[in-house]
Amino acid sequence: MNSTLPALALLPALLCSGCALPKVAPWERGTLAKPQMALDPDGLDAALKRHTAASKEAASGGYGVGGGGCGCN
């Protein structure tokens, strides 16, 4: 019992050591810097959607402060 517990604790560490993502060096970010790699490819469109969602959903707990679903804020 005393010897298996530390071994069990070590197991996740050993399992996870193989699944680490390779480190991307600062000079290797060319592909990541492309616009299509962004979380929001279209900033304006995303802002509009957020605004609509906030004004429609605020009453039911959308994004923080907002109106009462009238769409007028």
Partner: protein, 165 residues
């Protein structure tokens, strides 16, 4: 104590995206890279007797584009006094670099290192990074990132290194 303070200062500077001065004061690593679109090689370690400005850049890096007019300015002003600029391009596709240079022409030599061997030797931590090398071939200043506000300080450091004999 002083080193701790310097470390903290550099961490803050890096966090703010400002020019951080690392305490790298070793000899400049040898790293022969092919001149872009040519056959001869350029090596930062072979600038003996000259002040070197070794810049690491890529076409996708925004601040790199900002730094090109400044490097042209440096080249024009200080070349006669013995300043040598080598801009190492780290694009994997040479065409990306060519397209960038059409938009932002350079009056100084460009070398190409698509495998990224040189930034490893120089321990580049940000894009762009420039290394100021004195006439003895020692790295004296490291600039991470580039902002318009950095220009005056860099010029001062270049002038100071040029004045050294």
């Amino acid at each position: 104590m002083i080193t701790t303070r310097r470390l903290i200062a550099s961490i803050f500077a890096a966090a703010l995206g400002a020019t951080a001065q690392a305490a790298t004061e070793g000899p400049v690593p040898s790293c022969p890279a092919t001149a872009l679109g040519q056959s001869h090689t350029l090596d930062p370690a072979q600038l003996k007797g000259k002040v070197g400005y070794i810049d690491f850049w890529a076409s996708w890096c925004g601040p790199c584009a900002q730094s090109f007019p400044f490097m042209n300015e440096l080249h024009r002003e200080f070349q006669a006094q013995g300043l040598e600029i080598i801009a190492l391009n780290l694009d994997e596709e040479a065409q990306d670099a060519q397209d960038f240079l059409k938009k932002y022409p350079a009056s100084f030599p460009i070398a190409s290192d698509p495998q990224g061997k040189c930034p490893q030797k120089f321990d580049v931590k940000a894009m762009p990074t420039s290394f100021l090398v004195d006439r003895q071939g020692k790295i004296r200043h490291v600039h991470m990132g580039f902002r318009d506000g950095d220009k005056a300080a860099i010029k001062q450091q270049v002038q100071a290194l040029l004045n050294e004999r």
